[in-house]
């Protein structure tokens, strides 16, 4: 059984007991514990169930490579699934429950899959569940879905918040083990700006656990002194609990700092996402121990040897009273020694190598530990926990030599450098035969914007596997990294006592001649239940590429992304293909190194600040009036202003009728306003607009159309000539930024010798449309300038004052009524708006929203960008040929419009429509044509573009495109409905209201 030892534990604080619960059971741990060490201290060996077969699963590792021990953590708005217990710091009140079982962890009916596992090999689902056809959706898939998945789905909105920070440094060092600290010393001394990240709460990594001696002292002492020295350097920043998740191009690194995971609800952000831009990146990310593939290597109690050591040394937790160590290398002997020194029993060290003579084995032997060489484990005994192991000859097929009772197994198959960050941007790997692992190939690094090496791996992460080698490598790597940035550094490394380790021996299957029965119990990927036999099956069936095998078997696709399983799986695949391991290659390393919380990636942009909100000066007034808003770009515009008892439609109709009959006020501030100025401004606008703007007299307004180079209509608006070399261009509300950028594009990149300046002054001005038969009256009441027909005819503008406000008044109309659009400085917008309402009260002033605006313009047959246009419409389609100059040699879009399809007489053209029964044509409806096309689709001859109930005319009106356009007036066409019917409508003139245009011209 696993338990807490009564002394030791370098990371725990026995004075701070912390209560927590697991599956509702009260347990006790100490400050400094991880949830993993606390569970083991409470003899909780069984912690979860595997993905496919629902096999019992225990803790295997002590770090982010843990594949098994994932729990549902917390509750309610702080509930979090798939929390890895090995990286979860214990805190008082922590609540965890195990995952993926029903009804309970101990008795899981899903384990039936395990009994049937023989019938469920890798990829079995591709070969069955095909009949009957409907059964996949209705039967098989629901069952598979329910049994798959891991943690429960959260139900509530996240109670926590997340921060993001941009940061910059010359050298970013990832990993706070001795290699990272050594690299920081060298880089820091050079004067470079250095940041060191460490994913755990502790500096120094594994060295203290491994008993390394540095500069003649235990590693702990050197680490403490080094951390103190680095912290005192002004150019060095140390950040613990911060995991570098991904390396992106040009020195960009994402790192997730776990700020308040261990202090939930204390008001701090849960996580902080650091967005680093680094000159060079040093990866001192260490190495991960590999499991060995023997039958039953997944039974709870079988753990990585170094992790066992971690639990004993760091947390004073023994995974078992009697631990058998199985290995192919010397390092695992450290575990046996640590266990023995802690007073625990090590019945046997099972070493696959036939010759074992190194210093560490000798020490183990001297401690009286039995060492069996040339041996392997034939099979682990036990169900929900280990009860013993059966030994065999490694060279054989698994005949049992003896059985040894034990309650834990510590295994080591060698070490793999953590090369993820090196690989994210394309760093290549080389196969190291001595250690049987992939390590970074310095000749093929990931490169940055200058084509230079961007990442410098050091220490274990670079295949320097002993403390002495790692320190020397780190000093060299750091010196090279800062030298590349122009800093001078000396590659001086701390000295470490060299413990000579004998060569490891690659062992991919134990015993090497194991038959199919044993291989079907050798787990490679613990979480996804991928076995040696599955990889061999994949190879047999032709899934030869490592990517095929991965995808076919799901090897390495679990939440640990193959940190434990990939190399072992590759070796099995290579063997099955009779290929060298490096020729099989690895799967692609993708960010993140370990999973990162989505909330942290999204940052603070949630709820009200999800996106920037653009407000007009009158926005507060609209809110106070409880306007119903609609988003228009980043603006929100009042759609209508419902009064008590009104629905939106009724409000819109009231607003239309009031504007037509009395006085309507529209906040038109969102309308784009761009000043175009300079000696060549007229010439420029003549290229931009389809019409001629250079000839527009000062004081006059003219409607203009803009097309893209394809010839398609992109924006429209009224242009006013302000003075000899200044024009003001109005754009649509959504179009201001786009059109301004468009102008700059042409001015800077094509006609860069033209003297033109542009300024987007949209937000400098508030604008109000004063509309309706009483429009002039209210302005006259405000007083200050002559707004009479004579002084200000239609399509002119004038500067002046109204009610004391400095104004620019445009006599233009988008509603068909007498109308003035009045611009005031933005700072006066709200006051001017209020003044208009006050003065207009006696004339029936009411605000109107965008929907009333749309209806009124449709009643007049005015087109709307985005309704009548969709990016495929040319002005000619909309009968706007009058706004296209025939005289100009060129304008943007002219050549595009000459192409055969755009010049075709068969194009659909704008017309008006009235249903025969007065109803409203359905939005989006198409005009049907007889027959079907070659693909069996119903033929069409047009479609509706705008369709409304006209409160003015008391019937449905519509605009649309139809083959033949206005030539079809009088014809009856049929609009389709989604239910398969049609609505008959007559083709009419699209101007439904005030055909002669008398209303605005008063």
């Amino acid at each position: 059984m696993s338990t807490r030892l009564n002394k030791g534990g370098r990371l725990i604080d026995r004075s701070t007991a912390q209560e927590f619960s697991f599956n509702g059971k009260r347990m006790r741990g100490f400050g400094g514990d991880t949830l993993a060490s606390a569970l083991l201290a409470n003899d909780q060996v069984l912690v979860g169930r595997s993905f496919k077969y629902h096999r019992p699963r225990g803790i295997v590792a002590a770090g982010p490579e843990e594949p098994n021990a994932l729990v549902n953590l917390g509750r309610g708005a702080r509930f979090e699934p798939n929390q890895r217990v090995t990286t979860t710091e214990l805190f008082a009140g922590l609540e965890a429950e195990s995952q993926n079982h029903w009804p309970s962890l101990e008795f899981d009916v899903g384990v039936i899959n395990n009994t049937l596992s023989r019938f469920l090999p890798g990829g079995f689902y591709y070969k069955t569940f095909m009949w009957p056809r409907a059964a996949w959706k209705h039967l098989f898939e629901p069952i598979i879905r329910a049994s798959a998945g891991l943690g429960k789905a959260p139900k509530e909105r996240d109670a926590d918040r997340y921060e993001q920070v941009y940061a910059f440094c010359d050298v970013l060092i990832v990993g706070g083990g001795i290699a990272g600290l050594q690299a920081a010393l060298v880089a820091g001394a050079s004067g470079a700006r250095v940041t060191v990240l460490e994913q755990t709460a502790h500096w120094g990594g594994r060295a203290p656990v491994d008993g390394d001696m540095i500069e003649g002292t235990p590693a702990d002492a050197w680490i403490a002194a080094t951390v103190a020295a680095l912290s005192a350097m002004p150019n060095v920043t140390m950040r613990a609990r911060c995991m570098a998740a991904g390396v992106y191009d040009h020195g960009y690194v994402l790192a997730e700092e776990k700020v308040a995971d261990h202090t939930p609800g204390d008001g701090r952000p849960k996580h902080r996402l650091w967005r680093y831009r680094a000159g060079r990146i040093i990866t001192a990310t260490g190495a991960i121990e590999r499991p060995l593939s023997f039958a039953g290597n997944d039974i709870p109690g079988v753990m990585l040897a170094a992790s066992v050591r971690d639990y004993v040394v760091n947390f004073a937790v023994s995974p078992g009273d009697r631990t058998v160590v199985v290995t192919n290398n010397d390092d695992a002997y450290r575990t046996a020694i640590a266990l023995k020194e802690a007073g625990l029993a090590v019945p046997c060290i099972v070493d696959a190598r036939t010759q074992v003579t190194g210093a560490l084995p000798e020490r183990a032997r001297a401690l009286g530990i039995r060492v069996e060489t040339g041996r392997g484990i034939a099979k682990v005994k036990g169900g929900k926990r280990v009860t013993g192991v059966a030994l065999c000859v490694q060279a054989g097929e698994g005949a049992v030599l003896e059985e040894i009772a034990c309650d834990a197994v510590a295994m080591s198959g060698g070490w793999s450098p953590v090369v993820h960050l090196w690989s994210h941007c394309g760093g290549k790997l080389t196969w190291d035969r001595q250690h049987a692992h992939f390590r970074p190939d310095a000749a093929r690094p990931p490169t940055n914007q200058d084509g230079a090496a961007m990442v410098y791996p050091v220490g274990n992460a670079n295949g320097a596997m002993t403390a002495a080698q790692a320190l020397a490598d780190a000093a060299n790597g750091a010196a090279a990294a800062v030298a590349a940035l122009g800093f001078k550094a000396e590659a001086v490394a701390a000295s470490a006592a060299e413990v000579v380790e004998a060569a490891m021996e690659p062992v991919w299957i134990m015993p090497q001649g194991a038959g199919v029965k044993l291989k079907a119990k050798m787990w490679l990927d613990y979480q996804n239940d991928v076995k040696v036999s599955d990889v061999q099956l994949a190879a047999r069936e032709g899934y030869e590429s490592v990517e095929h095998t991965k995808r076919y078997t799901t090897l390495g696709m679990a939440t640990d992304q193959g940190k434990l399983s990939n190399i072992n799986g590759l070796a099995i695949l290579a063997d099955a293909l009779n290929e060298e391991i490096p020729r099989v290659g690895t799967t692609t390393f993708r960010p993140p190194y370990a999973p990162v919380t989505l909330g942290a990636l999204a940052g603070e942009s949630r709820g009200d600040i999800f996106q920037p909100l653009r407000r007009t000066p009158m926005h507060g007034w609209h809110e106070a009036e409880q306007a119903y808003f609609e988003p228009v770009g980043l603006w929100r515009r009042p759609y209508c202003y419902p009064r008590a008892g009104e629905n939106h439609e009724q409000a819109v109709h009231r607003e239309v009728l009031n504007t037509r009959n009395a006085l309507g006020l529209l906040d038109a501030s969102t309308l784009g306003k761009i000043i175009v100025k300079g000696p060549d401004a007229g010439r420029f606008l003549d290229m931009l607009y389809t019409g001629v703007m250079s000839s527009l007299p000062v004081g006059k307004c003219r409607y203009g159309l803009m097309c893209n180079e394809q010839g398609f209509l992109s924006d429209d608006g009224v242009v006013a000539r302000i003075d000899e070399d200044t024009w003001l261009c109005h754009t649509t509300s959504g179009g201001a930024d786009r059109i301004h950028a468009w102008m700059e594009d042409w001015l800077q990149c094509e006609w860069w010798d033209w003297q033109v300046y542009t300024a987007n002054v949209t937000e400098q001005l508030a604008q109000v449309a004063v509309v309706g038969p009483n429009a002039r009256k209210v302005l006259e009441k405000l007083g200050g300038m002559d707004v009479s027909k004579e002084a200000m005819p239609f399509m002119t503008w004038a500067d002046g004052t109204l009610g004391g406000f400095p104004v620019r008044v445009y006599r233009i109309s988008f509603s068909g009524e007498l109308s003035y659009e009045i611009a005031v400085p933005a700072s006066m917008g709200a006051a001017f708006w209020a003044a208009l309402h006050k003065a207009g009260a006696e004339f029936g002033a009411m605000p109107y929203g965008t929907e009333a605006l749309h209806i009124m313009r449709a009643e007049k047959g005015f087109i709307m960008i985005g309704d009548e246009t969709d990016g495929t419409i040319i002005p000619q389609d909309l009968n706007l040929g009058w706004a296209i100059s025939k005289k100009k040699a060129d304008y943007l879009g002219k050549r595009g419009q000459e192409r055969t399809y755009l010049a075709s007489p068969d194009r659909w053209k704008l017309a008006g429509f009235e249903t025969l029964d007065g109803s409203v044509v359905p939005d989006g409806s198409y005009i049907v044509a007889p027959g079907t096309n070659a693909n069996g689709q119903g033929n069409t001859q047009g479609r509706v573009t705008s369709t409304y109930y006209s409160p003015t005319l008391k019937k449905g009106i519509a605009m649309g495109l139809v083959r033949g356009g206005l030539d079809r007036i009088g014809d009856v066409v049929e609009f389709n409905t989604v239910t398969g019917g049609t609505v008959k409508a007559k083709v009419v003139d699209p101007v439904f209201y005030d055909k002669d245009g008398e209303k605005p011209n008063v």
Binding site: L150, P592, N976
Partner: protein
Amino acid sequence: MTRYSVFAIAKQALNYHLGWERAWASPAPKAQYDAIIVGAGGHGLATAYYLGKNHGITNVAIIEKGWLGGGNTGRNTTIIRSNYLQDSSAAIYEKARSLYETMSQDLNYNVMFSPRGLLMLAQTHHEIRGYQRTAHANALQGVKTEWIEPAKVKELVPIINIDGPRYPVLGALYQARGGTARHDAVAWGYARACSAMGMDIIQQCEVTGVRSEGGMVKGVETTKGFIGCKKMGIVVAGHSGQVADMAGFRLPVEAVALQAMVSEPIKPCMDVVVMANTVHGYMSQSDKGEMVIGGGTDGFNNFTQRGSFHHIEETLRALIETFPMISRLKMLRQWGGIVDMTGDRSPIISKTPLGNCFINCGWGTGGFKAIPGSGWAMAELMAKGEPGPLAEAFNMWRFKEGQFIDESVAAGVAH
């Protein structure tokens, strides 16, 4: 070829699965084929499959520079839908969707087509009108879609937030028979079926040149030597420009990176596929339990299969706004694919300036869902030398004439 079935599995189980045959052969190339398909992704394999099945042409080689299905076929978010606006798009995507319905049975390989339903959310009034237009177009095109109100959206997707402060859900276009399929299985299933017809799938073989004579294609130079052919189909997605260059013509195509990601797996919480185009994000839950999330494309030419982080950030912002409960889930893996974007963002299935050389490319961000329809149409084009009705509108000369197939017009995106 052994038929796959539960009985076959049971039989093999008794023998510890040692008796399974290769799913596809791995032959050396022959000197000459009736047809060569360059590219063993989903589209290339489907083209070969329908060349054999529909047109009886089986002396075919499919040449792949990497491993089959290793490009965008294995890197997408597996969405299948046909609720397109334009007639020619709707025709080919609906053909594809209908072929997906029976693909597992046709190929005797379970591609796990899951018609779980697909929603495209309308979050502005403009989007409502756009989707209503699509619904009306679909009604005439024989594509079954419907407009649904917010309450129904909430019923279909309980985890959705329909009252977001900025972009409340105003309704959705719903395609009940849209859904997902297992992407790798589509490539593997086609590969197995092609191999069973006697076609040669030649992996690890890169085309280095195109040989022609008198304006007609004669074969391809490859890293495994020259391979002759009577007809050639280029189906290489992101690398179309490079192969077209060898064949002597230029394409209206640019390659950009499209990113996607998955979360850690959780128990089922979302049955349908949801696309939110106003805020640029889409999400479904895989059978494994991962939330599969797609985002936008970079705006620059890129062949690295890596994208820029800010797109991931923007997508996640949008999706957390739409599905607040995902905030505490974790991103397990992110990746990028190279997508080939044409001038109108619609594909090209076309004859080329080189005789008997045909091209299929430009699927941009929407290729997976089209695979069977694309293969069907491309096979017809290659077999007959002229496009059939499915392919006709997708010719590469439409750009000269200005006859676009523009799907972006209906508030939609081409994912």
